[in-house]
Structures are given as C-alpha cells and as structure tokens.
C-alpha cells in the first residue's frame, strides 16, 4: 500500500510539472491556434539557463531563478517576433512545421553549448524528508508541487480578473472582434509566447532540481500532448487536471506493471493508452470546447 502511495505522490509531483508545461501549450493554442511542438524544448532551455547561472556563474539560486524568468520572457518575445510573426496568415500546417523546426534548433543549441551529458543542480533544499501519511517525501517534491499550484493560481487570477487576461480570452474567442476593441492582436500573441516560455522554464528548473537535466529533457513535450488532449486543448483547468492525471497514471501503471507483471518501461506508453481509452468516451477531452457548427 505504501508502495502505491509513494507512486501516487511521485505522480502528483511529476504531473504538476506536466500541468505547468501544458498550461503554456494551452495558452499559445488558445490565443494563436498554433500547436506548439517546441513546448518541451522551452522547458529544456529554461532548465539550462538556470543551470548555467547557478553552476557555471555561481550565482545564488534564487537570483538565477529570477534571471531565468526574465530570460524566458525575452526568449518568448524573440521566438514570437522572429519565428511566428512572419508566419501569420500562412496555412496552419506550415506554422506547425515551423514549431517542429524550432524544437530541433533549440535542442541543437543546447547540445552545442552544454553537451549531452547529464548535469546536476546544486542542492538548494534540505534533504531531510517530510512524512506525508507515513510516506517520506523529499522537500524538493513538496516545493515543486506548491510552486506549480501557486503558478496555476496566479494565472487563473490573471485570466479571470486582469485587463490583459480578459483581453487574451477575448482574442482567443474572436480575433477580429478583439481587434475592434483596440486590443493589439500581435501583442497578445507575443504575450502568450512569453507566458508559455516562463511556465515551461519554471517546470524545467523544478525538474533540474529533482532529476538533473540533459538534452533529452525536451521529450517532456511529448507527455504534454496526452495531458492537453485529455483536458481539452483549450482549457486551462483541463491542462491542470490532464497533467496531474497523466502524471499519476503513468507512475501507478508503471509501478503496477513492474510489481505484478515484472514488466519494465511501461511508463512511456501508459499515458497514451489511457488517452486513447478516454478519448473514445469523451472526444473533446474533459473540458474542451466542442466544435459547434454555426451558420
């Protein structure tokens, strides 16, 4: 029993990171209708930026974390301005191909500068575990979960109450009508890439603190697809739940497969199997907008 509880807790933590990255994905998709295949690479770049600042430049962790956030804002703006904006008005498939290209470029850049070796962050939190329902949990796990939840809360408030947040939702619903309100559509696109880069880099930094990082970190982006498809491509709440569900399910299924069947490596496929089953029942995910034919 404790074994499974441990798996659930690990799943919650990993899932909260998936949820963060999924949040970034959904924000871009909602505002710009672009399916961003470089979401995982944004995680990787953020993780390496923070690594570089703390380990190679020896800055205090908190400072380098804040600088990483700033760097992500600039990265998001640059990507939108240089890569996506020239594609406005092009067929959606071309735009998607461009994001795939972007993911390769980001990955190559990281390998060029930092190689393919695994790199570890210095320990910033104490090692001494807390006990949750009798199960030992590392403080870094708790911090990861709390930080993700906090970011989600901040963005929920932002989208619900702030002027820009409401404008982003309006733009997602009807671009032309939003433009007629005097909302600068291009700024909204840029802002959505900024948000995506920031939340992803936070996810990357958390992962770096838990597992260390290497150039394969971008594969995390693949996990985001089951999460967002499960939640519904355009729902923030869906992204949160989808991420958590996928994180927990893959850990529990993997653990069960190991213990009961002696099968290893189930983790990678568990999420997709669950996804297929759920989509058969709910084709638009839990919270996705149904496509309604209007005349």
């Amino acid at each position: 029993m404790e074994y499974y509880l441990q798996l659930v807790i690990n799943g919650l933590v990993v899932g909260s990171i998936y949820a963060l990255v999924a949040l970034g994905f959904v924000v871009i998709y909602k505002a710009t209708k672009v399916v961003n295949f470089a979401q995982g690479e944004l995680v990787m770049v953020g993780a390496y930026a923070c690594f570089s600042l703390t380990v190679e430049m020896q800055l205090p962790f908190l400072l380098s974390f804040l600088m990483t956030l700033g760097f992500s804002v600039v990265l998001g703006l640059a990507i939108e301005r240089l890569v996506l904006r020239p594609m406005i008005g092009e067929p959606i498939i071309s735009v998607v191909m461009v994001t795939i290209g972007l993911s390769s470029i980001l990955k190559s850049l990281v390998q060029m500068f930092w190689g393919t070796q695994i790199q570890v962050y210095p320990q910033v939190l104490p090692q001494e575990p807390y006990f949750v329902m009798g199960v030992p949990v590392a403080p870094v796990y708790i911090a990861a979960f709390v930080l993700s939840a906090l970011l989600f809360a901040i963005f929920s408030v932002f989208f619900k109450y702030s002027r820009l947040g409401v404008a982003m939702r309006a733009t997602a619903l009807d671009q032309c009508a939003a433009a007629s309100m005097g909302i600068g559509i291009k700024s909204i696109f840029a802002l959505s890439w900024c948000i995506a880069a920031v939340v992803s880099s936070v996810g990357g930094v958390i992962l770096g603190n838990i597992n260390g990082i290497n150039a394969q970190l971008g594969h995390l982006g693949l996990k985001v697809f089951p999460a967002v498809i499960l939640g519904g491509l355009d729902s923030l709440l869906g992204a949160a739940l989808g991420g958590i569900v996928i994180g927990v399910l893959e850990n529990v299924c993997d653990g069960a497969a190991k213990q009961l069947l002696g099968l290893g490596g189930f983790k990678e496929v568990a999420a997709f199997i669950v996804l297929v089953i759920i989509l058969m029942v709910k084709p638009y995910g839990f919270f996705g907008t149904k496509q309604i034919e209007r005349v």
Partner: protein, 265 residues
C-alpha cells in the same frame, strides 16, 4: 464641422477584387449620418476601411484618405484607430460569447484609463438596465436584442468620438428594432457622439439621421438631407419599398435624379 471625411476611397480584397471605387462621404460632428444600400454594395467594407479592420480580412486601401477631425487615420493599425476615437460595432454584434456581460464591457474599455472603468460601467448600466441584471451571465446565452445592446454598450465603454454601427437592427424582431433605434438616437443626443449608421432598414435609419448616403456597387449614388430623402419618390421606390407601379429597377437606371438634384441644390 465634419468629424469624418472619407475621400476617394478605393479598397481591394485579396490584391485583386476592387470593392470600393472612389467613395467619398462625410459625417458631421454630433450628427447621425446614414449609409444605406443593398446587400453587397460595400457598406461593411466602407466601415472596416475607416476602422482599420480591413487588414484582418486581407483587404487594403489602395487610394484615397480617411480623416478624423482633419487628421489622416488610414493606414494606422486598428488599435491606434480606436485610441484616436473611432469605434466600430461590427455586423452580427460579435459579442464574446464565453465571456460574461461585464467582461465584454471591460473589453470595450481596453484602451481607456483604469479610473474610468467604474463610471463607464455605471453609465452603460444606466442606459441598459437589462445588462446590469445580467452582468454575470455569459453573453452567448443572451437574446439577439440583448446582445445588440451589449455590443452598443461595449462601444460606449470606449468613449469614441465617432461610432460606426453596422446593421444594428439585423435579425431583430420589429419591436426590438424600434428600441435599438431609440437608443441610438438617445446616445447621439445625450452623449454628443457622432454616428455613422449602416442599415438595410432605410426608413428607420433616415428617421433618426440628419443626412443620408445611398451606395451601390462601391460608389455613392445619392446623398441628401435625411428628410428630403424620405420624401424622394425614387428613394421611396427603391429603398423604402413603396410601390409607384412599374417593375423593379436599380438606382443606376434612374440617373436623372442626380441631375435634378443638382438643379434643385
């Protein structure tokens, strides 16, 4: 004084289709000007050319000028045009269906200082008590008439000098149509906002307007004082649905009117 002057406007869609062919009109400050014409004449295109929304539809101004209080605004992006004081209520209302009534209104105030928000909301709720009752409701669940009120309220939030209304009565029940025109008239009288009103419902539009234009096929074919237009037998026949016997003709076929008008004027 003219609030708006449109001079010799030419608009092309998709680089090839010429839709406006040298259109000129003016809207006097503080007045309602009606722009009438059949479906496909280019009325919406004219409004979008003024508000800058053409760009989003791959349309382009290739000739001519749009002047707001003598300052050129053509070629500016739509957000700059809204900031300069022009606000368009698009055809079909276009409320944000998954936002609440109040969130929709806040979108209208996007370009305004924050301090204005609460007084602006109160002003809109004063005009439209219905919107106040439903402030927390999703706009998509409201009736067509309420959505039109919301669309106009949203425009008021931007406090424009010039309001462009594209067929506000479209698809509304007759009783509501009357309400909407009353509201437009009241808005103009109380707030002093200049209005350029595009309508298919020519009679109702001319009844509240001081000046009218009729366009056909991308050009203005007739203009005049609203009251005079209402009395004009050709206008009555072609746009007010009054039969004077005889088959249906297009205005183009009765060019003589233009000459007659010139003599009279």
């Amino acid at each position: 004084m003219d609030m708006l002057r449109v001079e010799n406007l030419e608009v092309v869609y998709n680089e090839v289709v010429l839709v406006l062919k040298g259109l000129s009109l003016t809207a006097a400050a503080g007045q309602i000007t009606a722009l009438l014409g059949a479906n496909g004449a280019g009325k919406s295109t004219t409004l979008k050319a003024i508000s800058g929304l053409l760009a989003g539809e791959n349309g382009k101004i290739t000739e001519g000028a749009v002047l707001l209080e003598d300052r050129p605004v053509h070629g500016l992006p739509p957000d700059k045009i809204v900031r300069s004081g022009i606000f368009q209520v698009m055809e079909g209302r276009r409320v944000f269906e998954d936002l609440t009534v109040e969130e929709n209104l806040r979108c209208g105030a996007f370009t305004r200082p924050r301090a204005e928000l609460v007084p602006s909301l109160e002003r809109v709720y004063d005009y439209f008590p219905r919107l106040a009752e439903r402030r927390k409701q999703l706009a998509g669940f409201m009736s067509g008439g309420e959505q039109q009120m919301l669309a106009i309220g949203r425009a008021m939030m931007a406090r424009p000098k010039l309001l462009l209304l594209d067929e506000p009565s479209l698809g509304l029940a007759p009783l509501l149509v009357e309400d909407i025109f009353t509201i437009i008239k009241r808005l103009n009288a109380n707030e002093g906002v200049t209005i350029l009103l595009v309508e298919q419902n020519a009679r109702a539009a001319l009844n509240i307007a001081s000046h009218g234009y009729i366009m056909e096929n991308g050009r203005i074919v007739l203009e005049g004082e609203a009251q005079a237009m209402l009395q004009n037998p050709d206008v009555q026949e072609f746009y007010l649905g009054m039969s004077h016997g005889g088959e249906k003709k297009r205005y183009r076929d009765v060019k003589h009117y233009r000459r007659r008008k010139r003599w009279l004027g």
